[in-house]
Symmetry: C3
Subunit: 132 residues, 3 copies
């Protein structure tokens, strides 16, 4: 198993940041022709997701949908850091994504890319990529 | 790693289509006794999910819940294809699912099955199954 | 592949129960130094999620967010067991999570832990842990 860490710096509270190029670079450096790639957030208020990485409006719309969803949620949270919304969205999006590796590269569909999904930014984040 | 593609044709905008039999067929043909099976959507507006594959009302209710959720969401999307709802639901359900293979078959719980979750149909979709 | 089953008993309808210690015990007993750990719910109304396993308010707030979300959802379900909400949340949280194993233990971030996410309790549940 080859492991690499990708640093990501975010600038907004809710923000999807493309890491497709960085993950692909890690996969190529791993030198694995065919296998599995696990891309993990090491955090509890940021997730990893696979979605369209072509039109810049898509990641912006995903963040806007999250904002609208949480603003409408009528709930009184107890966690005193004030970021229970961030924890909730992290569980919904998922802490990691598993992709295939073929021909030494990520096996992505035509429009697919990989994103860090920030839900409590701005922050410095670390995404872990393991290829086996 | 053995890889097979499953074609799926959907007929509604939001629709869960069982692919349990097709995935199991791919797993049996792979000839792997014990291992891991990754079932991926190659799309950004359709997901893969594991849920009850017995009572036909369950996948219908899941699609109904998605419709009610998105209809109530007060958000103005910018992506001009008009399917940001589909991208959002795909990230929530997840682009892929990982299941175990035991005894040469999918290791599913009593009521579990695998579904393509269509969020921008009707369309022709491809689900990729990798067994290792 | 080493496989272990973890029994979990839940006491509320929506409840996140930490299984971090039990999963780590299973991983240590598997004797795998480096690899992948798949943690699966064998059920269709309970999920597995990775989130903060430090402040007890976080899992409580996650359950509260789920309750507020589903109570506000204006939908008429057809499934006559009356637990379509549980099926929906299971698909949103995810039936399984994939973590890395390093140094013979789960490779978790500082605050991360593993939870069974009960959405139709109280019940006796089984979580399957596979290490390879």
């Amino acid at each position: 198993m080859k492991i690499g860490d990708i640093p990501v710096e975010t600038s907004e509270r809710y923000q999807l940041v493309s890491i497709t190029d960085e993950v692909n670079k890690t996969v190529r450096e791993a030198g694995v022709g065919e296998g599995i790639c696990v891309i993990s957030s090491t955090h509890t208020t940021a997730a990893v997701t696979v979605n369209e990485d072509y039109d810049r409006d898509v990641p912006r719309d995903l963040a806007a949908a999250c904002r609208a969803f949480l603003e409408a949620l009528d709930v009184c949270f107890e966690h005193d850091e004030g970021n229970s919304d961030s924890h909730f969205l992290t569980s919904l999006f998922g802490q990691s994504q598993t992709l295939l590796v073929r021909g030494g590269a990520l096996d992505l569909g035509r429009w697919q890319g990989v994103f860090l999904a920030e839900f409590d930014g701005p922050r410095r984040r670390t995404v872990r990529v393991a290829v086996s």
